[in-house]
Subunit: 324 residues, 2 copies
């Protein structure tokens, strides 16, 4: 009987939002033995649309880990079609959130399962198994937590801010409605307890990572974990590669810099990965720092970054082992 | 100011199920001034599928009156696509009821509106206006009434019998679950009260017409109406042109003949329209009878039959006027 040891099958936990997070998660999955990776995903973006339960970040992770994602759009399915959307428009339906025909099938199945009484964790596990994904994908919690964006034009539900208004209204603050009533799921708890390394993917710190950390008990588990905790910067050369992170930083009165991410998340991190474009900032990082190429354009570049992150994690683990 | 008189704008009420009913309804709409036609449609076929509210007969009538129907399939939309169905199958969803991409958009909108609290009557009126249909389309009632098929293999919900099992299990009896709690909607009541002619479309008497007549008060209003009431036979030459009517008749111990329809519905009828193939039976009809071509293959043949039915109705109205 073969015995799988921790040494042969490390337990890696990644925290992820949408596109950037899903890219590094795909790299980690490619770099690790099957079953080693657990991705804990932001659900603050979730909302109801067309009467269906939509989970944009979970779906981006699912599609990326199943290699079904649309690399041009960054979200949604490859070879997507838009027949239903065109017809929903004809019947006066909302069209600002573009649901493709292939993508829609997943929303229909999820909505049906949730109405049947399955938890979101169970639903996502069914979907990832059907898609042949070897990694575990966990919503940050089963209860609804909804990111509400306080802007100079008033409060906006996240997707209305992000998609409908294209992040135009200036940001004042964010809140995660429902977080107080959320609980750590047994699956998230177990994943964090047994983690050998915790990776904060290059996701927006305010609207992807913060909602995850808002689940009561989750930040504490990460902080108290004996595993090294590493973040990959979502800011490269002062810009976000995708999404509004840099714009948000400026509107919040911060500099759009990797150092702002370190300031924001530093108390739960041991190490930080910066892009070569920001190499000059490495000395200013108050954590262990790794400088490398962080821009992921294809699977080899995702896997290469993942391997470097894993190796960086291994050095932090060794450095934290007290000498006999 | 122009005054519309009854003479210039007759009020025609048609009772219809799916394909055959929708064909004659399209003919009547083409033959009449806009706004003259009200179609009261069977909802006993309605069911929930993929978490959506599906109304097959209402949709067939909507699509036919908007000239968006698929003439080859008899149901659904023209130029239909099946991307979502293929993907739902991938995620283990049910595929025996084939929902096309275009068709799906209507189910999504209807389901959303019903969940918002609109009545089915309001939902269908919104849809028919959006599709530019000049006729009124009314569900037989707003409450759910569900046709349950008692077969030699047990009880089956209608769509499971009709689509999933292709009407194979032998029929013992039918019941219309929920009919006891249904009520005449104000719209159906008003349409029947002001009708100048009531037409029973060539729809299955057991599973299309009977559910409509099962709505408490509806049969009585038809029976007491002063308007002529005419049925067009759904049986031609011993066969149903579409659907299981003839098979059902045989399984119920009846002869598959237009006369069986007359027996079944005779107490609410004044006149009956038979196909030329059944001309020899005309003398056996205990009602006023019209023999003509009843097979509708294109819009001109639908309109021609409609005009003959309207003229037949006019003769019955004249013959019922007592001489001074």
């Amino acid at each position: 009987m073969a015995i799988t040891t921790k040494a042969t099958k490390p337990k890696i936990v990644a925290l992820a939002g949408g596109v950037g997070g899903a890219k590094l998660a795909a790299g980690l999955q490619a770099a690790l033995p099957p079953g080693s990776l657990t991705v804990i995903v932001n659900t603050g973006d979730d909302f109801e649309h067309w009467g269906l339960n939509i989970c944009p970040d979970l779906d981006t992770v699912l599609y990326n880990l199943a290699d079904m994602h649309n690399p041009e759009m960054g979200w949604g399915r490859r070879d997507e079609r838009w027949t239903v959307l065109d017809e929903v428009e004809r019947f006066g339906g909302e069209n600002w959130f573009r649901i493709g025909d292939r993508d829609l099938a997943l929303h229909l199945r999820r909505t049906e399962w949730l109405r049947m009484g399955l938890s979101l964790t169970e639903v996502i596990d069914r979907l990832r198994r059907m898609l042949g994904i070897p990694s575990t994908i966990l919503p940050m919690c089963n209860e609804p937590v909804r990111t509400l964006v306080h802007t100079e034009e008033g409060d906006l539900p996240f997707q209305h801010y992000f998609v409908r208004r294209r992040c135009e209204p200036a940001l004042i603050d964010l809140s995660f409605v429902g977080a107080d009533s959320a609980t750590l799921s047994p699956e998230v708890r177990k994943a964090l307890q047994s983690a050998d390394l915790i990776v904060f993917c290059p996701s927006n710190p305010y609207v992807s990572i913060d909602p995850i950390l808002s689940v009561p008990g989750l930040r504490g588990m990460v902080r108290q974990s004996s595993a090294p905790r590493i973040a990959v910067s979502p800011i490269v050369g002062g810009q976000a590669l995708k999404g509004p992170a840099a714009k948000m930083m400026r509107e919040l009165g911060e500099v759009s810099s990797p150092l702002t991410v370190v300031d924001h998340l530093g108390d739960v991190l041991d190490g930080f990965v910066l892009d070569r474009a920001d190499a000059v900032l490495a000395d200013a990082v108050i954590l262990h720092a790794l400088v490398t190429g962080t821009v992921m354009t294809d699977l080899p570049s995702k896997e290469r970054l993942a391997q470097e992150v894993l190796a960086f994690g291994a050095t932090l683990r060794q450095s934290s082992i007290p000498a006999d």
